[in-house]
Amino acid sequence: MSRISALIARELRSLVYSPIAWIVWTLFLFVAGWFFFSSVYQFSAIVATYAGMGQEGVLDRLNLNDFVIAGLFQNLLVLFLFLVPALTMRGFADERRQGTDELLLTAPITPGQLVAGKYLGLLGVALVLVAGAGFYVLLITRYGDPETGPILTGLLGLTLALAALVALGFAVSSTTRSPVVAAVGAFVTFLLLFVVDWPAESTSGWLQTALHALSLPSHFDGFTRGTVSSVDVVYFLSLVALGLFAARTTIASQRWR
């Protein structure tokens, strides 16, 4: 256990010292802030328009949760497409490039411990980065009165999505020694999960079901509307398990090449 926590602490320390993390964080917060600003601005413009027209019925149906917060969460999910590969490319590809894999693989730790420690460390780094965007949610709850339920489920959804993407990105990173290949590979993998159900509407039967079942956003949307379905939770946890299993297998087999 102390070995796993040493690996986690090492990742978090790299976060503090590495300039890349600060740059990624700054850009992430800037873009997230822009999304937030534009949806709040649009929302207030729409409210003002309808209020000016005296359409009280429409105003009742417009709410902060649906318009601003759900939108913010969905936009954050799209930002993960870019943020997570930038983090997970350091996962194992960078260890190989720096030669530090030789330290990790000759230390008395099992591949399972190594993967657990690296994964939890990377996920911790990702959560710290994303937590910065919680500031916008705080702003909304300070100056508006949204329902807390959908906010909490949305945050749960974001955490689960992040856990799944970091696991998959780590798995991609474990197959190569080039951080660039790891980043591009992770990005393409994530992109496929985002667009896999695009042809679903023109298909039918089992194919349509399968395409929807694989799609990441279709499992995420429920969380932003305040519903937690066990199917969605299982989907994200399965991706975590798949990613970690693939990473462990790849790293354990490296010795035998």
Binding site: S2, R3, A6, L7, A9, R10, R13, S14, Y17, S18, Q98, G99, T100, D101, E102, L103, L104, L105, T106, A107, P108, I109, T110, R255, W256, R257
Partner: protein
């Protein structure tokens, strides 16, 4: 302490090791000599459990690298060809991590790190980021990493490569100071290096041990050079 028998390793079509065998007794500092590409790094990587052999066996501190790799890793300090340094950590943080991951209990970790820093002459730079250190200090940090958990056996791949003469002398003295308590196997392609540091020289050429020389009897560097050239030349002709 180190016992190797019939090691073979191929990378695709090229043969790296074609039956390497030797033993190194406890307390010995053995030098592993050979031209570039002779199989030095491959042999050391197998001893470190980083790679597995295709055939043959290797034992470190009485444990087989294939069957009991965890036991080997607990007792081994390993400095790879490229020191595996975390450039964005300070020397002290990095050594603390190495001690933790090798299983030094928390209570003893600080003392172990202090001892390694002291021993390798890193006190002046212990709070600096490794990425900002000179090559000599980085190499010493790599050596400290191999020593921090007080291993019985040390495997050092080219510990003085790229250092200036002054730094080479410091590292050499450091390695010699380990004699007796630990078993050391270090590789080099420099004859004087081995002649001055080691009590035993193993010459490897084309994946085989070509000569095995006892230097404790006070063999001069000249003898070693003759042996080295003869051993490596024989193979070229045959």
């Amino acid at each position: 302490m180190i016992a190797v028998r019939g090691l073979e390793k191929r990378y695709g079509d090229s043969t790296a090791l074609a039956g390497v065998g030797f033993t190194v007794e406890k307390g010995t500092i053995a030098g592993f000599l050979g031209p570039n590409g002779a199989g030095k790094t491959t042999t050391l990587r197998i001893l470190s459990t980083y790679l597995t052999p295709d055939a043959g066996t290797a034992e470190v501190a009485g444990y087989d690298v294939l069957r009991q790799p965890m036991e080997v890793r607990r007792r081994l300090g390993y400095l790879p060809e490229h020191p595996p340094l975390d450039l964005d950590h300070t020397v002290r943080e990095y050594l603390g991590f190495c001690a933790a991951v090798r299983g030094v209990p928390r209570a003893r970790r600080r003392r172990a790190v202090d001892a390694a820093i002291e021993r390798c002459g890193l006190a002046a730079v212990s709070g600096r980021l490794i990425g900002n250190l000179s090559k000599g200090f980085r190499q010493r940090t790599g050596l400290a990493q191999a020593l921090v958990h007080e291993p019985e056996v040390l495997v050092l791949d080219e510990p003085t490569v790229g250092l200036d003469p002054q730094q080479i002398r410091e590292i050499r003295n450091l390695i010699r100071s380990l004699a007796g308590e630990r078993t050391v196997l270090l590789s080099s392609h420099l004859l004087p290096e081995v002649a001055m540091t080691c009590t035993r020289a193993l010459v490897i050429h084309r994946g085989r041990i070509a000569a095995d020389l006892d230097l404790a009897a006070g063999a001069a560097a000249g003898t070693l050079e003759d042996t080295f050239l003869r051993a490596t030349a024989l193979e070229v002709e045959s």
